[in-house]
């Protein structure tokens, strides 16, 4: 029996004050807690039903309006109002319409650092694993329990280690890599486990690209998508947060429930076909798929790097007459930076509709519901039937480069045709 610990075992040991291993049950202290507008109203109701008066520490809590931002319906507006009242009463961090998507804001605004234990009432909370935080999605009632007590119970997960060797080629990105892995292990391949992503291919990626990978850990069923912190991590975190931190590394003799090793050098762009995220195929195997709508944005791929590569492809081009493109930068800061770099003009001249930072196009609330029979190619992380608000539409997932190339030609297109 090896005595070393995985990243998850170490973080849950630190935060519970016990020496724990996989399958132990712990009650652990939380460093940060987040809710969005699809989950916070129920959490506020649970908070009241639990007869609590005050949250445990306002500085460690954030609520974000992003899923329906700005509100498209009066029912939603009422739920937003409840959030604003609660946030003001409790003095927690609050991000209103236009600020951005929760999983961009939480790290961007410096709320999470390496070694942290974080919960969010949103399944893509696993995103911050990219900066070495154990972050995981929970439901509204767990959120309420967390903001009252500052703690949550966890079963310490086993870990599935992914070793990614080689380097991604030109025109192949982090999104293609994570889609490939999900297709390989399937939608419940890592259920109940922590995923650890490492190897030279990951080390080669920027922090923004690493967020894309950790963001989709949930799509293989994982509890979290952890990475180790390196110099890039330390620099990025120091640029965004004033919190002190100590990175957590897995021991060389840690116990892994599963280990898979890959060489990613020959990987081509990947597409997830309707209607599951693990229905993945290399773009050369896809066949002809005409596109009526493209979406670039979301917590998966709405960052500056994503916008820059899309702009590189869209510059001087016009979108196909048969297609539409919606672009949603993941935060206000990103939108401002994109403006300063001239990206907005490129998008608008190409014919894109640029919308408020938010989740709308991904999650079917507003900002781009497709019509019956339409094919959408999106940089989002889910393509379930009805996901974008119409159960008679078809959603394909790909990288920002793939989406940009595809809306120009009007069919799903290998972006390398535009880049090489």
């Amino acid at each position: 029996m090896k005595l070393g610990k995985t990243i998850a075992e170490k973080i849950l040991s630190h935060k519970s004050g016990r020496d724990v291993k996989a399958n132990d049950i712990v009650i652990a202290d939380l460093d940060f807690i987040m809710g969005q507008d699809g989950t916070s109203p129920l959490a506020i109701k649970a908070f009241q039903d639990m007869q609590a008066a005050r949250v445990f520490d306002p500085a460690r809590i954030a609520m974000v309006i992003d899923h329906s931002s700005p509100s498209p319906l009066e029912g939603v507006s009422e739920l937003h109002r409840q959030m604003r009242v609660f946030a003001r009463e409790q003095q927690i961090n609050f991000y209103d319409i236009g600020e951005g998507v929760c999983h961009q804001l939480v790290p961007e605004q410096g709320h999470v650092v390496p070694g942290d234990l974080v919960i969010g009432a949103d399944s893509h909370t696993c995103t911050y694993g990219a900066i070495n935080a154990l972050s995981t999605g929970v439901g509204s009632t767990d959120l309420a329990a967390g903001i009252i007590s500052g703690k949550l119970w966890f079963k310490v997960p086993e870990t599935f280690k992914f070793i990614l060797n080689g380097r991604l080629g030109e025109g192949v990105y982090a999104k293609d890599l994570i889609l490939f892995l999900i297709g390989d292990v399937t939608a419940d391949g890592a259920t109940y486990m922590a995923a650890e992503y490492g190897g030279e291919a990951v080390a080669d990626l920027s922090i923004e690209a690493r967020f894309t990978i950790s963001n989709m850990a949930i799509e293989m069923g994982a509890k979290c998508g952890l990475m180790e912190a390196d110099q890039k991590t330390v620099e990025w975190v120091q640029q965004h947060s004033r919190k002190e931190f100590k990175p957590v590394f897995a021991d060389p003799d840690a116990n892994y429930a599963r280990v898979k090793e890959y060489d990613v050098s020959a990987l081509e762009p990947q597409i997830a076909r309707p209607h599951t995220v693990d229905n993945v195929v290399g773009i050369s195997q896809l066949g002809e798929v005409s596109i009526q709508q493209g979406v670039i944005g979301t917590c998966t791929n709405g960052r500056m790097e994503d916008l820059r590569i899309a702009a590189q492809i869209l510059k001087g081009q016009k979108i196909s007459k048969e297609a539409r493109l919606i672009i949603a930068p993941a935060s206000r800061q990103i939108m401002i930076a994109a403006m300063r770099e001239g990206l907005m003009e490129i998008f608008l001249q190409a014919g894109a509709a640029v919308v408020t930072p938010g989740c709308g196009p991904c999650v079917g609330t507003h900002n781009g519901v497709p019509s019956d029979g339409e094919n959408v190619i999106s940089t989002a992380n889910r393509n379930f039937k009805g996901r974008m608000g119409n159960n008679k539409a078809f959603v394909y997932l790909g990288s920002p480069a793939t989406v940009a190339a595809s809306v120009i030609t009007g069919q799903i297109t290998d972006p390398r045709q535009f880049l090489l």
Binding site: I27, A46, A52, H67, V138, G139, A145, S149, D188, F384
Partner: protein
């Protein structure tokens, strides 16, 4: 806890957007209203065919996708007695315990549409009265049994003020 009812069957990877669509779940907290739309994108008539205490029976990875608690709440409000599946996605699993929706993990290949089931959660037994099969149920971890037996996490917190798993 004893449960009895007839079965409605679904496949693998039934995600929470199928359980309750994004078209509906963001605009109201009225769970009775959301209950009318349960499983709509997979089976538009589902809600009309449910009798109180019936079971949803499914394959692997039931409840994958989003963390939204509207999924188990809509199922509870549609008067479903329990969800029975070969395996569950983890956030959904926790949300069911927290909201008081019983979950049963077992081999559902032995259960068909319309079968009448009799379940005793304390004994850990599932009897398919239609086929006569007795199916083994995986026991819930003690922490989850405690929360479920107290009626869910809200009741647990009302009683103890915080997480309290020791006697």
């Amino acid at each position: 806890m004893k449960l009895a009812g007839k079965c409605h069957k679904f496949g693998n990877d039934v995600n929470t957007d199928y359980i309750i669509s994004g078209r509906h779940k963001f605009k109201t907290l009225d769970m009775k209203e959301l209950a009318k739309h349960v499983m709509e994108d997979l089976d538009p008539e589902f809600y009309t065919r449910v009798s109180k205490g019936d079971f949803i029976v499914a394959g692997t990875n039931f409840g994958c996708g989003s963390s939204r608690e509207q999924a188990p709440l809509a199922i509870i409000n549609a008067d479903i007695g329990a969800v029975i599946a070969k395996s569950f996605a983890r956030i959904f699993y926790r949300n069911c315990i927290n909201t008081g929706l019983p979950l049963i993990e077992c081999d559902t290949d032995q259960i068909n549409v319309g079968d009448q089931l009799k379940i005793d959660l304390d004994q850990g037994t599932l009897l398919n009265e239609t086929t006569g099969a007795v199916i083994k149920i995986a026991p819930l971890p003690p922490v989850m049994l405690k929360i479920l037996s107290e009626g869910g996490l809200v009741e647990h917190f009302k009683k103890h003020g915080t997480f309290q798993f020791e006697e």
